[in-house]
Symmetry: C2
């Protein structure tokens, strides 16, 4: 795979897309079998919806492959280069990681989405999906593997783990010397399992306890629109806002209007908030420190930007943090001093997403500091190699 | 530290350098105490030499701090930036990692070298040196801490672990939530201990089983100079060559001259090599797969560049691999297909070093693929943050 050209890899993606379109009915039949097993097993409506494919979703998978083919190739990019005084030509070149492991829960579209990004970036991929989607995943992975073969690449570059037992998940996380980078796509229990068991290098999404700080003297109409959007547009995702900090100077004016604008959101506030919003419950450290992933929000009133920054340092999870302010110094301080994967000024936290930021695709959002931080696209599926060209230089 | 300016951090480095010069005698007295304890404990000459400071070595430490101050600051570098169709201004900005942990063996100069790089890049650093050097390290770290204070920075940004027991080393590797990145400076047993015990993120130096492949039709005078340099110039280091691959077409001409040019090197060859060099011992997989770190080298004769690449894939450690060739296609294939932190064409592997490549400084050489690969300088002590500037954008 590392020696393949991007032209060939793109051809494989386009072939795979055509095969997924051609085999749409067979993929839906496979999915029907998974759904039937899940139904018998008593799966709830949410699980069934995540597992379910329809003709539109299958067509989206195929289109997703074509979209990834159209992205520019990160492999071979010269990140930096220079010439040494002794004439050595030094460059840092982007290269594939090697073998990427993806461990994921029941959405079958992850099979094609994740494999496409790995393939595009010159990697082989080992996919370990859930038992509930194994028939669907096998059908989708089959189309991808046949796409590789049609383009003249080894079909083994996409592997799907057939054994979906719990033991196999742990064994997968410990494939030292085989998996160069493990990336999970799933919820908190999967992340916890990786932290406990993985011996291969990994990059993980942590939690998103995202804050919005409404500064003194900010545009309160803008602030309200941003908070309502960040909280309610899609409350179940990691870049939704969970906690609101309001400068004391604007709290009395801002909070009642905000509460009226999103009556569906349950608010938990500190003592000062409850003086202004008597209906809010009293916020505990658990309110300030956790992710609701639903229509609830914690609120605290602060006396200064310093207090807001300290609150975020104490309770934040390092995902995405926003300030609404008209003040340049406050914007600089917030973006410099808040330690998170992403910091925003006067914009909704919901933009911290590979697609929204323009990465073209996303394999996850890292809250780690090493290797990748924030939305991970194709570049984050690569490593760097030093290439040194000489004319016989030796070291003296 | 993250909010400090590089001007202040440079001032701290310059103050610390002056304090090390001023306290040279006290540092040497502290070192004499460590040496005395080591001597009583029966330390060998190599250990004593690594531990020993003299006036020149102390002056070099101070100069090292001034050299690091003169490097350009990686913090705040805008790695990439663009504007989205909705007007959001997106940038990726280099930020400090936070707290870097350094665990190291008995050279006291690592205390100042490592702390200087961490301080320069806006990080706090926790130093965990060996018990044998604790009095020296305390004296050196004291000067650095006083330098921070003199520049108006918190002296706590450089911490030295006082407890040098084995238990404290393991506890240090498990400071989750405190250490953002752990970097070891030491030998194989330290690396093994980190792999076994560390729960914090780390970047490690692996082994350097570096190969040189002498291609058919290459300049054999150049090839000999490169092999002799890579093998003998400093055989005990990770970027020294350990294994030689020679194309069959040039083996009979090349090998006897090479053997004569470095008679101090013990050669272990495959059967074909021993036909040409009857004095060579028969190479085992251990010869091909290990690091000698001394005046010995394994030799194999190959029929093609493919065979050379396969041999390196089987036995290499992913550090630095070189080809000597006059052929452009061979150079492209080797640098594309060999999976290592560094690949060289017509140059000695000894150049794979932060100073030689022009990074200005080096905190280690990573053989990992994630985060950093190859020589690690100041940039590798940083992370990235997304900074998004808006004018009230919300997601629809």
């Amino acid at each position: 795979m590392a020696r393949s050209s991007s032209g060939v890899r793109n051809a494989a993606l386009m072939c795979a897309a055509d095969l997924i379109d051609e085999r749409s009915e067979a993929i839906l039949e496979a999915n029907a079998a998974d759904l039937e097993t899940a139904r018998i097993g008593g799966a709830d409506a949410t699980s069934l919806d995540r597992l379910r494919l329809d003709a539109h979703r299958v067509a989206s998978m195929a289109q997703g492959l074509r979209d990834v083919a159209a992205l520019s190739d990160p492999v071979g990019e010269v990140v930096a280069g220079w010439v040494r005084p002794n004439g050595l030509r030094v460059s840092q070149v982007r290269v594939p990681l090697g073998v990427v492991g993806i461990i994921y829960e029941n959405r079958p579209n992850v099979t094609s989405d994740a494999a496409a990004l790995c393939l595009k970036s010159g990697n082989a991929v080992l996919l370990r999906g859930s038992s509930s989607a194994i028939v669907s995943n096998t059908a989708v992975a089959g189309a991808l593997r046949d796409g590789l073969e049609a383009a003249g690449l080894p079909k083994e570059a996409i592997g799907l783990v057939a054994d979906t037992s719990r033991e196999s998940a742990v064994a997968f996380m410990q494939l030292e010397g085989i998996i160069d980078c493990l990336i999970p796509r799933g919820g908190a229990s999967l992340i916890a399992s990786i932290k406990e068991h993985a011996t291969v290098p990994y990059v993980i999404d942590g939690e998103g306890n995202c804050h919005i700080y409404v500064d003194a003297g900010s545009d309160l109409v803008m602030a309200q629109a941003i908070v309502v959007n960040a909280k309610t547009q899609r409350p179940g995702v990691c870049n939704a806002a969970e906690s609101l900090l309001v400068h004391r100077a604007v709290a009395t004016d801002f909070l009642p209007k905000l509460a009226a604008a999103m009556p569906e959101v349950a608010l938990a506030g500190d003592e000062a908030t409850r003086v202004i919003l008597p209906d809010a419950s009293l916020a505990t450290d658990a309110d300030f420190g956790g992710e609701y992933l639903g229509l609830a929000m914690s609120v605290a009133i602060v006396d200064s930007i310093d207090e807001a920054i300290d609150h975020i340092a104490r309770f934040g999870s390092g995902h995405s943090e926003a300030i609404v302010t008209g003040d340049v110094t406050a914007a600089i301080r917030f973006t410099t001093e808040v330690d998170a994967a992403a910091v925003l000024v006067n914009a909704s936290t919901r933009f911290i997403d590979g697609g929204e930021l323009g990465l073209g695709a996303e394999i996850g959002i890292s809250t780690q500091k090493l290797h990748a931080r924030g939305p991970m696209g194709l570049r984050e599926l690569t490593s760097i190699r030093y290439v040194v060209m000489g004319t016989g230089q030796v070291r003296t």
